[in-house]
Symmetry: D2
Subunit: 459 residues, 4 copies
Amino acid sequence: MFDVIVKNCRVVSSQGIIEADILVKDGRIAAISEEPLEAEAARTIDAAGRFVMPGVVDEHVHIIDMDLKEVYGRFELDSESAAVGGVTTIIEMPITFPPTTTLEAFLEKKKQGEQRLKVDFALYGGGVPGNLSEIRKMHDAGAVGFKSMMAASVPGMFDAVDDGQLFEIFQEIAACGSVIVVHAENEMLIQTLQKQLKAAGRKDLAAYEASQPVFQENEAIQRALLLQKEAGCRLIVVHVSNPGGVELIHKAQSEGQDVHCESGPQYLNLTMDDAEKVGPYMKIAPPVRSAELNAVLWEQLEKGYIDTLGSDHGGHPVENKEGGWDDIWTASNGALGLETSLPMMLTNGVNKGRVSLERLVEVMCENPAKLFGIYPQKGTLQVGSDADLLILDLEIEDRKVDASQFRSLLHYSPFDGRPVTGAPVLTMIRGTVVAQDGEILVDQGFGQFVTRRDSEVSS
Amino acid sequence: MFDVIVKNCRVVSSQGIIEADILVKDGRIAAISEEPLEAEAARTIDAAGRFVMPGVVDEHVHIIDMDLKEVYGRFELDSESAAVGGVTTIIEMPITFPPTTTLEAFLEKKKQGEQRLKVDFALYGGGVPGNLSEIRKMHDAGAVGFKSMMAASVPGMFDAVDDGQLFEIFQEIAACGSVIVVHAENEMLIQTLQKQLKAAGRKDLAAYEASQPVFQENEAIQRALLLQKEAGCRLIVVHVSNPGGVELIHKAQSEGQDVHCESGPQYLNLTMDDAEKVGPYMKIAPPVRSAELNAVLWEQLEKGYIDTLGSDHGGHPVENKEGGWDDIWTASNGALGLETSLPMMLTNGVNKGRVSLERLVEVMCENPAKLFGIYPQKGTLQVGSDADLLILDLEIEDRKVDASQFRSLLHYSPFDGRPVTGAPVLTMIRGTVVAQDGEILVDQGFGQFVTRRDSEVSS
Amino acid sequence: MFDVIVKNCRVVSSQGIIEADILVKDGRIAAISEEPLEAEAARTIDAAGRFVMPGVVDEHVHIIDMDLKEVYGRFELDSESAAVGGVTTIIEMPITFPPTTTLEAFLEKKKQGEQRLKVDFALYGGGVPGNLSEIRKMHDAGAVGFKSMMAASVPGMFDAVDDGQLFEIFQEIAACGSVIVVHAENEMLIQTLQKQLKAAGRKDLAAYEASQPVFQENEAIQRALLLQKEAGCRLIVVHVSNPGGVELIHKAQSEGQDVHCESGPQYLNLTMDDAEKVGPYMKIAPPVRSAELNAVLWEQLEKGYIDTLGSDHGGHPVENKEGGWDDIWTASNGALGLETSLPMMLTNGVNKGRVSLERLVEVMCENPAKLFGIYPQKGTLQVGSDADLLILDLEIEDRKVDASQFRSLLHYSPFDGRPVTGAPVLTMIRGTVVAQDGEILVDQGFGQFVTRRDSEVSS
Amino acid sequence: MFDVIVKNCRVVSSQGIIEADILVKDGRIAAISEEPLEAEAARTIDAAGRFVMPGVVDEHVHIIDMDLKEVYGRFELDSESAAVGGVTTIIEMPITFPPTTTLEAFLEKKKQGEQRLKVDFALYGGGVPGNLSEIRKMHDAGAVGFKSMMAASVPGMFDAVDDGQLFEIFQEIAACGSVIVVHAENEMLIQTLQKQLKAAGRKDLAAYEASQPVFQENEAIQRALLLQKEAGCRLIVVHVSNPGGVELIHKAQSEGQDVHCESGPQYLNLTMDDAEKVGPYMKIAPPVRSAELNAVLWEQLEKGYIDTLGSDHGGHPVENKEGGWDDIWTASNGALGLETSLPMMLTNGVNKGRVSLERLVEVMCENPAKLFGIYPQKGTLQVGSDADLLILDLEIEDRKVDASQFRSLLHYSPFDGRPVTGAPVLTMIRGTVVAQDGEILVDQGFGQFVTRRDSEVSS
C-alpha cells in the first residue's frame, strides 16, 4: 500500500517536534502516524529515534555549469555534494555561461539540469541591463525568482544594474508577482576604497574586508529597501554579512515592507579571526566580518531577524585562490558550501545551543520554500508534501571536514579541518534515498525541475 | 485500532492547508493521512471536504462562577457556550468570588472546574496587592499564567496594582518562568476625564469612550512595556483596543522584548458606529473605538502585529446594563463572547477577505497555546496533539446571532441580530464530539484541567 | 549721560563673543560700543579684557523661607549666596511654608521677597491636588511658571499629583499660556525598591541610588511627555539625572513637542565615585548617577540636548544629613547650589574644555529667561536689557570651595574642598554692583520681582 | 567720530528685536545704543522705526559669469539684482566657464569678482571627478565651501560624482575642515523615469515633476547622509524640495551628525498649482512640489528643521525656456532669485504670519554666515560686525514683481506679476549705501572677497 515507511522519527518543524512514522507513497508523504499502522510498504527505514528534518532548500547556489571550462562546477558533481550535504532542492543562480538572462538560456539551463542533476532544482532568471523584456518570459517558463547585482558583477556576462535599471526590474517583478534577490553592495565605494588600500600597499585579507566595509553594504541595502518600498515587489537581500544590515531589513519588514533577509553559514561560521589560517579561501563578497559582529548575527538568527540562509556555493579554480596568500586582490571571490552548510550549522549552531533545530528548519527549509512559492511541496514534512527528508546524526565523534573528499570538482573549503558533530546520514528525495552514509544512490537526471505552486509550467 | 477517523478534512494550520484524514486514538491525533488507511475505527465522521481547524483556545474568559449569585456566569452553562462556539479550551480569569489569588482558592476553582465544566480549561492566578507569596504556589499548582490590573479593578475583591506592586509581580513571574497578562489602562486619568465629562452633563456611550481614550490606554501600555523590559518576564497586554497600542507592543517585540499583544473579536467586529443600536451592551473596558481605528486593527491582525485574540467573555445581570441607555455611567462593563467570537471572525474576517483562515488559526489557537505553555497538546492538529477540532461551515445562509438562545445564563450580546455566515458545526475535544449542530453531547465534568507542558502537575 | 560704563569687556552670548564697552543708564544697557565713546558716566569699571556674561538665571531654587524654623534657608542670606555665585535672578520654587499654592500665599511670598531679597526674583506657583482654581490667579498675579511633583513630595504640605491631577494641571497651564516644570520620578516604584533594599539590609548611598534607578525616572519622564503631548502645554522636566531621560526629551522636542530638559551642575559635577567622600551630602533626588552616565551628560550638554541648568538649591539642617553616614535612609534630600553652580561649571566645564562659554551662557542665562518669558529683560546682554552682568575670572589659582564661608544659613556642600579655577569677581544687577570679590554691596530689598514680558503685573 | 549713524532702528536678530541706533565706523558696527549718543557722524540715516535686519547671505548663487556668452548672468548686473534684493553677500557656485575646480580658475574667478561685483562675495570650489588634489589648494586660497553634484550635472563641464568620488571628496573636506554642499538627486532613477514618461507621450510640467519624484530625491539624501556619517565632514544638502527630505536631515542632525538642510524661497513660494500659469519658468531641479507638501515645508521652516534658504539664482536664455510650454523636456532648468527671494519671503512668509522675522533672519543671514565660517563678520548686526544692513518696508501697497525691470541680463521670473508687500528700501554694505529705493549707488568692484574667519587669506 505504501512505498516507504520511515519509522521512529523525531520529526522537526518550526512548530515543534513530534514522534511519528512517515509513510510515503508516490513520492509524497501520504501519512504521518504515531500508531504503528498495519500498512504494507516496499521498504521500511528505521530512523531509530533520530531527528528527521525536511531536506534543505538552498536558495543561493552557483554551480555555474554550462559551456564553462571544466575548472568550475559541474551539475553532476555539485549535485552529489548537495545530496551528501542534505540539500534536496537547489535554487540555481543565473550567473552561468551563457547567463540565464533570456528565455532561451533559461530553457537550455532547465534542460541541462533535468538531464544531469541528482537533486531537485529551481532556477532564477537574471535581471541585467537590457533584458527587461525577458523577465516575464522566464517567469512564465517557471523561474521561481530573479537576481540582480548592485555590485560585484561579472562584467560583460552578468553586469551590475544602476538604480534606474534596478527600479524598472523591481517594477517588472512586482507586475509578475515574482521575487527579486539582490546582491547589495556599492560598486563605486568599493572601487574607491580598494584604490586607497592598494595605494597604501595593503595586500592582506583584512584590507579586502576594509575595501568592502559594513557601511557600503548597508548603504546599498537601504537603497534597495527604498526602491522596493516604491515598486512594491517582494525583495530578498542576500548574503547579508553584518548585523546592521540585518537590522535595516528587519526594521523595514516590521513596518510592513515585503522584504526579507538572507545570511549564510559562511557568515555565521567564519570570522576575521580565521583569516590567518584560511586566507584567500574565505574571500567572499560581501566579506566575512569581525568576531564581534558575528556574535550579534547568531543572536539575530535565533531572534528571527534573519529569514533564510543560503550557501552562496560557488567555486573558482584553485590557482585563482592560491595567489591570494601573497596578494589578496588577485584571488577570486567564492567558496563551496553545499556539502558543509548544514553540518556547520548543526555543529556550531544546534550542538552549541546557539540556535534551535526548529529555527534552523525554519530558515533553511520552510522559509526559502515559502518565499519562492514552492511550499508546501518542498521545505516541510506534512502530509501531501514531497518526501524530501534527512535523518540526522547529532552525536558524531571524531569527524572533520575533509575538502579533499568533496564530491564537487573543486576540493577546498574555508572549513577544511573543522570538526563536525552533526550531519545528515540519509537524504531522501521524493521517497527515494539519494545518499546514505556518504554514498550516492541515484543517477544523473534523477533531479526534477521545481517551480512555483501557482505556475502553469509542469514541474 | 483507532477510535475515530475524521475523513476528508481540509486541515488548517498557520503553515497552510492540507487535505487529509485525521485518525484519533486515546483522545490524541494518532495519524494524519491522505491515503485511505485500511484502519478500523469505532466511529467515522465525514468532514466532506470542509475546513477543519484546531479548537479555539480562548485565553481571556471570565465565567466568574463560584460563590457568586446566580445572575452571573455558571461553569456548566458558559462551557456549553464555549462548546457551541468552537472554544475547546478556556483559560479562566482569576476574578471570581473569592478571587483566585491564593493557593486555596486556586485549588477550589480547579476542583469546581473539573466537576462542572464541559470543555477543557486552564486557570490564571491573580496578582493583586499583597499576595506576592501566593504566586509561586499557584504556579506550582498548575496556573498557566497570571493576571494583574493597572485599572478597572473590582475594589476589595480584585484590586488594581500600583507600579511598585506590578514591578514586584513582574519580578516574581520572571522568577517562576510564567507569563503575566495585564489590563493596561490608567486609573487616575480615567477618573479625571470621567469627572470632567460628567460635569459637562454627558451620559452617552461616546462620553464613556472619551473617558477612557486611546492616549491613556497607550500610556499604561508603554509603562507596562518599560517595566517588563526591566523585569524580564513574559508579558501579554490584553484586550488592546487601538492601533497605537498594538504598534507600541509590536515595536517592543521587534526590538527583542518578550511582549505580546492580545486584541479581541469585540474590538474587530464593533465600532462606535454601532453605538446607537447597541448602546450599553457594547460598554466594555477598554472601550470600543472609531471605525477609522477599527480598520487599522484589521490590517494589523493580518500583518501579524496582533498575537492573540481573547473574547473577554463576561456578563453582568441585564438590569445592570439596561440603565445605560439613559446614563452610560450606570451600566456595568462586559459582554459575553464564547458563543460568538469565532463565528464573528469567520463571518466578518475570513468570509470578507480581511483575514486568512490560516492567520485566524494562528491567533485563536496556536499562539495562545504556545504563549501559555500548553502547545502542542492544545491549539494545533498535529500527530500527538489532543484531538480538539472543529468542522467549519463557511457558507451558512440566513442565520443571525440570537442571544435569546445563548447557552449562558445571560442572554444579550452586542452582536445580537448580526448575520452569521461561518461557524463550527461540530466540536470535538480529545476525540469526543462535545457539540454538533448546536446540541451539547457531553455531561458536566467532561472538561479536564490543562496545565503547562513543563508542569509537574498532572493535567 | 550714562550711569555706568563697563570698559574692555569680552561680551559673551550664545551667538559668540564681541569686544566692547557696555554703557548703562537707568539700570538698562543703553549702548554697546567698541569705540571709546566720549560719554560721561558716574562710574567706570574696567573689565580689563575679561569675559563678561549675563547674570545667571537660576530657574530651580528652593530658599524655602517664610514661616519656617531658622534651620532652613533665609531670603536675605541665600540671596547673598546668589549674588556671590553670579546668580542675578532666582526663580523660587513653591515649596515653602505655607506652600505657594494659593493666590494669597503667592502674594505674601512676593511681598517678603521684595522686602528681603538682595537679587532679583521670579516666583513659581504650585500645582498640587485640589488647587486647580488657584493656578490662573497666580498666573495673573505674575507667576512665571508652575511646579508639580510626580514623586518625592512633602506630604501634607506639597503633595505629589496623580496622573489625572497632573493632566488637569497641564490643561490649565495650556489655557493660561504658562509653563509647567515637573519632578519626574515614580513614587510607587521608589517605595517598592526601597523596601526591597532595606529588607536586604542596605543602608549605603549606592542603595539610595538603586532605589531611585534610571528606569523609574525615565518611566515618569515618558509619562509626562505623553500627557504633555495631549494637553499641549509647555513642559520642562527638571533635574534630569541620566542621559536616557535627556534623550527621551530631546526626541520629543525634535518631533515638535514644546518640551524642554533641565539638568544641573550637581549631576554634571558629581558621580557615584564621589560617594565615599561626600556621603549623605550628595543625597539629592533624583540621585547622582555613575561616572559612565555622567560622561554622556557632558556630551549632551555640549550637543544641545540639555536646555537649561538649575541648581535645585535647597538645604536641610546639618543634623538631618549627618545621620546618613550610617544609614542613608535617614538623611534628608537636598544640597545648596547658588554659590557653587557657576564656579563648578566654569571650573570643570569651560576650563576643562567640556563645554564652551557661549553654550554655558545659553543654558544658564538665555534659555531659562526665554522659557519663562522674562527675556530679553533678563538672561542676555543686549541694548535694552537689564544691566545684569558678571565679570569672570577664569584663571583663578589656589582657591577651593569652602562651605564654612557660605553666605547661606547652612554651611555644607557636596563640593566642599573642590578646586575652583573660574568664578565671577563682580556681579551687577540693573547697573548696581551687588557683589565684588565676595563682598555684598546692597541691602535687603534691593531685589525686585520679575514677571513675564506679557504680564500686566508691574515688575 | 563715527561715519554713519542709522537712527531709530528696530534691529532684528534671531534672539529678538531691540530698538536702537546703529553707529558705523570704518565699515563696521562700532556701537549700538538706545540712548541718543552725542556723537558726530558724516551721515545720519533715519530708519524711522522700521525693521532693520542684517544683509542677506545668499549661499546658493549661480551668476555663471566668466567666458560665457552674454546670454547668461553677468557679475555686474546680477550683483545689482543682489543689492536691490537685499543680498549683501553672495556665495557663488563653481559652475562657471571654466568651472571653479582648480586653483587657477578659483583665483581668476576671485579676481573677476573683485573687479566687477557690486556686493560682497565668497566662492565655492567644485568637487568633481578627478580634481581631488585641487580641493585643499582652493580651500587655502579662501574657498568657504565646496559643491558636488550627485545628479543634474553639466556634462563635460561640471560632472556628477559617483559615490566613491563623493566619499573621497567628503574625506578631503573633513581633512580641510571645510564644508560641502551637495545637489542630492539620483541621476539614473531620473533618466529611467524620464524615459518612461517620454515613452508615454508626456511633455507637461507635471511629467517633469514625476520624473524627479520625491522618493529619488530622498534616496540621494539618505545616501549622502550615510556617507557623511562615515567621513565626518560638515554637509549641507541644498535646495531640498520636499518635507520628507527635510525630515531625514533633521533626524540625522538630531542624532548628532554635522548635517544641515537648505531649502529655498522657490520651494516655499511656488507649488504645482502654479504650473499652468508659470510653466517652464518654474522648471528647476529638484522640481517644485505639490501644495500639500509645500504647506508642510512652511511648518518645518518655522519649527527650525530648515537651516538655511538659498535662492539657487541662475538663468538661461529665454529661448531655452519658451519651448518648454510645448515640450517641458526641451526647457533648461533654473530661475533668477536674487531680486525676489527676500521680498517673496517677507510678503508670503512674514506678512502672512507663516514665519517670524526673527526666524527669517536666522535662516537667511545668521545660519549661512555661521555654516560657512564668515560669522560674525557677516550675517548679524553686532558690535564688530560689518555694517551690512537692510531697512525694510513691510507695508508696501500696490507693488508687483516686474521681471522686465530686473537688473539681471535676463528678464523673466516665476514670480512675475506676484504682489509684493515687503521689501528692503535701503541696502548698506560696510557702511556704504549700495542701493536705495531701487537705485544702485556703487560702482563695479565695490564688492569685496569674503573668506572664512579662520582663513589666512586676507579678505
